[in-house]
């Protein structure tokens, strides 16, 4: 701002005038007040974290409930099978083709009336529930870690370095099965 109204309005002069307009220095209390507001944000963080924790817990519970609900029971299970067919195991395997030729007295059945095929579901040998038992101290430590994660106090670069503090896993011992011998039942020979 030169105060000379007759001077041409050059870029340089314009910039000088704008610069003069924006010369504002922070007041002495500015930094202290800014710190105060930042501290207020820090105080709000636990509330924020607890909301996240509740959300995470609810999501985890929902996943477990849905998982248990959809998980079938172990062992073979016959579904959609009429009660009368339960005594004829051969029909269970080939229902619509194997059953009809034997039933000579029955009239021919139209294709639309053919009973629905029976589906046999088999499950893997091992049980669906795998449980791990850990000590109370480990559980408490895990809980703390989950809290830290939920409060978003975790730097992304920290987790991969956990490998360096992980203990080596114990070797798995070989499982040896004893041979199974079948001996005939004594009472059956007399029949």
């Amino acid at each position: 701002m030169d105060g000379h109204v007759d001077e041409a309005l050059t870029d340089r002069r314009l910039d000088r005038e704008i610069e003069a307009l924006l010369v504002v220095e922070p007041s002495p209390q500015f930094t202290a007040r800014a710190r105060e507001r930042v501290a207020r944000v820090q105080m709000q963080a636990p509330w924020h974290g607890s909301v996240l924790r509740v959300g995470a817990a609810a999501a985890a519970t929902a996943v477990v409930v849905i998982g248990m609900w959809r998980m079938p029971t172990p062992g073979p299970r016959v579904s959609e099978r009429p009660p009368s067919a339960a005594s004829r195991p051969d029909e269970a395997v080939t229902p619509s083709v194997a059953a009809h030729p034997r039933d000579e007295a029955a009239p021919p059945v139209p294709l639309s009336a053919t009973p629905r095929p029976v589906r046999v579901e088999t499950q893997p040998a091992e049980g669906p529930h795998a449980e791990i038992v850990i000590s109370r101290e480990d559980a408490a430590a895990l809980q703390r870690l989950v809290d830290v994660l939920a409060a978003r106090q975790l730097e992304p670069g920290v987790l991969p370095q956990l490998d360096s503090v992980s203990a080596p896993l114990a070797p798995i011992e070989e499982i040896v099965l004893e041979p199974i011998t079948l001996s005939p039942i004594a009472g059956l020979d007399s029949e």
């Binding site: 005038e17 610069e19 956990l162």
Partner: protein, 200 residues
């Protein structure tokens, strides 16, 4: 296992302290920039400081997620600008009234002080008139800047803060140097057209 988790938690606490220190350094370093950006919109020192403090609090909330910490100043500038614009839009009448009151105080204050100082220094009343003219020129310049489109306005303001050059303004706005040059050209052209009567 809990020892290992405690070890990790201990390291996280250390990381947190580092984060606090880092943020504190940036707060001190960028205070003037934030206030001036807010002031360029609100033209009120108290409001500008208030908005700048809010911007720092907001920045702190997301500071952890800021991957490239060197981008902090650019991030802060954009945030402060947006918050200042929002405040101005939220209560335009109050802001306008305060600006007018402040301008009147400055003009009348300058008139009085200029006349008094000029007379005490043994100078003529023309010096006092110069001061008054200067204040009124500033008012017209403010009005011309506010009439600019937002992108041009922010660019010319940043170029005027602390004498930033084209490259520094481009870094703050996260745009190419050429974009800043063209925006500065358009902004200066518009300001000159608007203020041309003052140069005669």
């Amino acid at each position: 296992m809990h020892e290992r988790v405690d070890h990790v938690v201990g390291r996280l606490v250390t990381v947190d302290h580092d984060l606090e220190r880092d943020f504190e350094a940036r707060l001190v370093d960028s205070s003037r920039l934030a206030i001036r950006v807010a002031f360029s919109v609100l033209r009120q020192r108290e409001d500008a400081e208030d908005v700048a403090q809010d911007a720092f609090a907001k920045a702190y909330r997301s500071f952890r997620q800021l991957r490239d910490r060197d981008r902090f100043r650019a991030w802060l500038v954009r945030m402060t600008w947006r918050m200042a614009i929002d405040r101005q839009r939220a209560n335009p009448r109050r802001v306008e009234r305060e600006i007018q009151d402040s301008a009147q105080r400055e003009i009348w204050g300058a008139r009085g002080a200029g006349v008094e100082a000029g007379l005490q220094a043994g100078r003529g009343p023309s010096d006092a008139v110069d001061v008054v003219v200067e204040q009124e020129r500033a008012e017209y310049l403010w009005a011309a800047i506010e009439a600019l489109p937002e992108k041009l306005r922010l660019t010319i303001v940043l170029a005027g803060i602390e004498g930033y050059d084209v490259r520094e303004v481009a870094a703050l706005l996260d745009v190419p140097d050429g974009t800043v040059k063209s925006r500065l050209f358009l902004a200066r052209k518009a300001l000159k057209e608007r203020l041309s009567w003052m140069a005669t």
